[in-house]
Symmetry: C2
């Protein structure tokens, strides 16, 4: 099968991971045992997951004007992702400080520069839409709206990865998408309800297809008749859930590119994300196609 | 008076300061409110303090091969310090992640790359010793020994800033110095006693002049007859003690360059460091000469 293409528009960040003896408390000074950089970010991780699954993955987004930008781009390229990065002059790249103690507990401090403005006019829409599916995350709403609008105008599936956000514009990204897959917190935060099914009903006013990932409780969505459906989580022993949501969205978008139905695509995504959770490590441990196909033979 | 010159050999680090709503605990994810970079490091801060006091300050040391190195160097140059920096290929510059919560409490994670080896052969000893005093810190023992040995061979005061360390070679730096000013923890750690006077007696076996800073309890030293002397701390309302020890050492070295006696130099250093503690902010708030001279008119 010819490899299918997914364009992923949105965030890429650098996780800078320090191993420490214990997590810091007030007025402590710790010496880090090691420092490792690892690529992260919703759209960027989704692209890396797609590449690992054999798809043509593109990432389009902004980086800062620093070393971290180079590391973000080279990390994606190493993962097989085609990168179109706009450098924001004099800005610090988005990054997370991740402190991990000896027990594996972690504390994360995320930094996003206010120099990353909303401007999305530079997005190369023709290139982005020379794809089978366009995916965007909600970290950069103006970019998501512009990319998803362009995709739908050309008849392409337009997938939004909708995580929790305090951006009052977020609903605009939901309205621009053909398929919205929320995180549990993202859905609850946007529609003001802790009940996922109630949240999905409210979301369905704005987008044709809406789903929500529920971590260990699986995934829920509304089918073509707006009836709630549910898929249990694929049973694995989770060792590291960091990035699992991003992997889910990448796999879901690739499955849509392969013209699977939404419920098939969610099943494919659920297995891929579950396998990712079995392993620690970065993008090089994201599941590949044969691993996912082998597990898909099982029902659960 | 012609400005006198102090060469400072040792560490420069970049403090990367993130403001957060609260300090992180296990499995928390915080968004940083701001990110500010500030220069730090023992020898580098000492050099900046000397420049603020009107001395000719040089800093000689290693940096990594990254953006942080540029920021470390430009920060020192902005403070009026003449920089001779050796870039360690492919290494990450030494840096601290400083998390500050809304109450001003802070947690610090320090990272030092193992790529900074001991090699000190590159040190430009002739340039370093074209000075009135040479100061070194104990973060890079081989560099301190080589610089202090060269200074003493030329009859210059050779000052060691001796902070706590787990480097088993540290005693070699103490032996190389003509003047060692320990931190309380540095003295206790090296000589295995919590009693500063006992520590000074043990240290005096190795170096002609030994002193120890005791924070709010002042400074203690042994005079030419090896008798213990003590100076109370200059009374201030301390708002930020970060870097105060480094400022103390810089001021002490500059005062020796000005041919003050050791006890006069300690008094000058104590006032300078106390004034520094009255203020928050980086090197631009280090005390200048007229501020120190004004306070020196007081006895305390």
């Amino acid at each position: 099968m010819k490899a299918l293409t997914v364009s992923c528009v949105g965030g890429a960040v650098l996780d800078v991971i320090y191993r420490v003896d214990q997590l810091p408390s007030s007025d402590t000074k710790l010496v880090a045992r090691s420092r490792v950089e690892s690529g992260g970010g919703m759209a960027a991780n989704a692209a890396a997951a797609i590449a690992r699954l054999g798809g043509n993955a593109r990432w389009i987004g902004r980086v800062g004007d620093d070393d971290m930008a180079n590391h973000i781009v080279s990390g994606l390229e190493t993962s097989g992702v085609h990168v179109t990065a706009r450098r924001i002059c004099d800005a610090t790249s988005p990054h997370s400080i991740v402190l991990v103690d000896q027990r594996g507990d972690r504390a994360i401090v995320l930094y996003r520069s206010t120099d990353f403005d909303a401007d999305a006019q530079w997005l190369p829409l023709d290139m982005i839409c020379q794809a089978n599916v366009v995916l965007a995350d909600n970290r950069w709403v103006a970019g998501a709206v512009r990319a998803l609008d362009a995709a739908r105008a050309r008849g392409l599936p337009a997938v939004l990865d909708a995580d929790i956000s305090d951006d009052p514009q977020m609903i605009l990204a939901v309205k621009a998408a053909s398929h919205v897959v929320f995180s549990e917190q993202g859905l609850a935060g946007l529609f003001g309800t802790a009940d996922p099914l109630e949240g999905l009903k409210r979301a369905a006013v704005h987008a044709p297809f809406v789903a929500v990932t529920l971590g260990g409780a699986g995934v829920a969505w509304l089918d073509a008749e707006r009836q709630p459906q549910h898929l249990r989580a694929f049973p694995v022993t989770a060792r590291e859930t960091l990035g699992a949501g991003d992997v889910f969205h990448g796999a879901f978008a690739l499955a849509l590119a392969e013209r699977r139905t939404e419920s098939e695509a969610l099943r494919f995504a659920a297995v891929t994300a579950a396998l990712k959770c079995e392993r620690t490590g970065g993008r090089s441990t994201f599941p590949n196609r044969s691993e996912v196909d082998e597990r898909l033979l099982h029902t659960w």
